[in-house]
């Protein structure tokens, strides 16, 4: 018996060990399965130095570059004219002020593979039927954009418009959080490889100062889409008229403080921070700015930037 008892001991020990191993293996298998089961749109995320959360769907190389860009932003101190300050509604173009402006409007950055349709849920309906606007920000135009090389899209404001037009309250799982989309300021920005390739100065690496500053200007453009109310919620682009290069597309602005003007202002001022930049880099800044300026339609007016909110 003792022997048996003795014999049993190792068995029990073995069982205990096996049990521990089994538990470990089960945990391991479940972990692996959960990892395999997770799609590439992982909802985990990490915070950048200035507090913007990068979703797990942002590739690591892009994450490093974005972190660099935002760090560069926080170190800026630019002297600008009063009309530029008025458009952005800030007191100065110091790093902290620009960071504050941006983080009010951009809270999450997601990668090109982030499937907003899968991560978004309808969690309620609005008790009222808001006016349906004619902008195509999320409709065919938005979907068409997504079939192209993504540079940057303000998904949060687009989903807000979608929810508003359909009298629905949406949530989005992003960066390990569930976000209620009750305002255009939800601040979810999708970036793509295009931001780092087609948007770069030719013959230069992605992490040069010039490329970093140019990318920041795109963030400021998209951040303006997180503003506005009523007819002008999300500052949608206007239809370009027949005489325009981009005729027939919603890629012009009738707002004197709209996204393309913000783009232009940032490109001009960020260019001044590009000390020691080459002629090619300067010309690229200016070309992008000229493109942005060319989209401002005659008779443009200042629009109210205050964001609306679903109660």
């Amino acid at each position: 018996m003792k022997l048996g008892t003795h014999l049993q001991l190792p068995e029990r020990s073995a069982w205990r060990v096996c049990g521990a191993m089994k538990n470990f293996l089960i945990t391991l298998i479940l972990s692996v399965l959960s990892l395999v089961g997770c799609n590439k749109n992982s909802t985990s995320g990490f915070s950048t130095k200035i507090g913007i959360v990068l979703d797990g769907s942002v590739p690591e190389d892009q994450r490093d570059l974005i972190d660099l860009d935002l760090s560069n932003l926080s170190r800026l101190n630019l002297s600008v004219n009063s009309s530029d300050l008025q458009v952005l509604n800030v007191n100065s173009f110091s790093g902290p002020e620009l960071v504050s402006w941006l983080t009010t409007r951009v809270r999450f950055i997601v990668g090109e593979d982030f499937d907003y349709a899968e991560q978004a849920s309808i969690v309620g309906t609005l008790s009222y039927r808001p006016q349906i606007f004619s902008s195509t920000l999320l409709d065919d135009d938005f979907l068409a954009q997504n079939s192209l090389v993504t540079i940057m899209v303000n998904i949060g404001s687009a989903l807000y418009r979608y929810g508003k037009n359909n009298s629905e309250v949406l949530t989005l799982d992003v960066g390990g959080q569930r976000v209620y989309i009750r305002s255009p300021r939800v601040g979810v920005i999708q970036i793509g490889e295009g931001l780092f390739t087609s948007w770069s100065v030719r013959g230069t690496s992605k992490n040069t100062v010039a490329n970093s500053l140019i990318r920041l200007s795109v963030f400021f453009h998209e951040a303006r889409h997180s503003d506005g109310n009523g007819d002008n919620v999300t500052f949608p682009h206007a239809m370009c008229p027949d005489w325009h290069d981009y005729r027939g597309n919603y890629s012009c602005d009738s707002s004197a403080n709209g996204p393309y003007v913000v783009d232009s202002i940032m490109l001009r001022n960020l260019r001044s921070a590009c000390v020691g930049c080459s002629n090619t880099e300067i010309q690229t800044f200016k070309a992008f700015q000229a493109d942005a300026e060319s989209r401002l339609l005659p008779g443009s007016t200042y629009k109210d930037i205050r964001p609306e909110q679903i109660p």
């Binding site: 192209l148 100065v201 290069d245 002629n279 010309q283 070309a287």
Partner: protein, 185 residues
């Protein structure tokens, strides 16, 4: 006999007169060609553009032999001509698969070329007139992207002011909307 002598006398003077007129005309034409431009519109194409086209593939020795243009100027003019031909036209924006919300990638390529042109002008101040000619032509070419034309006009203004040629350019030949964009840059 006397009549024949008078005829010879007349022919002699007629020949002398015609020769004088021809020589004078040739001299004045030569003076006009070699005279430095100092009028409004001095950036316009040379009166004989074929001259330039004929020399497009000229041998370096032939280039040096040209009396009214240096080899550097000619090389710059040829480069500028090629750059202008390759610059993106408005028509590219109609192509499918483009995101109209962002500048076309061809604009980035054009910026690269403009950067090289600016480098050349920085290093060779004697090319300034050729540079101004190039920027003027670019800004006046309606088929090009408006953003690119505006950037050319901006560069024209910057270079003309720096070189003191700004008073001798017909600024009103450029459309107002180009001026508006160029002045914002």
């Amino acid at each position: 006999m006397k009549k024949k002598k008078r005829q010879l006398y007349f022919l002699f003077w007629a020949f002398t007169f015609i020769s004088f007129i021809s020589l004078l005309g040739w001299y004045l034409l030569d003076q006009y060609k070699s005279k430095p431009s100092d009028q409004m519109g001095f950036l316009e194409e040379s009166p004989n553009p074929v001259h330039v086209v004929e020399q497009k593939d000229a041998h370096p020795e032939e280039v040096r032999a040209l009396p009214d243009i240096s080899s550097e100027e000619l090389a710059f003019r040829q480069r500028a001509q090629r750059v202008l031909e390759d610059f993106p036209k408005k028509s590219i924006l109609k192509e499918r698969g483009r995101d109209p919300h962002k500048p076309p990638r061809e604009l980035v390529d054009a910026s690269n070329e403009l950067g090289t042109i600016e480098d050349l002008l920085d290093k060779n101040p004697e090319l300034v007139k050729e540079g101004l000619r190039f920027y003027r032509k670019c800004a006046l070419t309606n088929e090009l992207l408006t953003s690119l034309r505006a950037l050319c006009l901006h560069n024209l203004k910057t270079r003309a002011t720096a070189s003191g040629f700004d008073k001798r350019i017909r600024w009103n030949e450029f459309p107002d909307h180009l001026h508006r964009i160029a002045d914002k840059l």
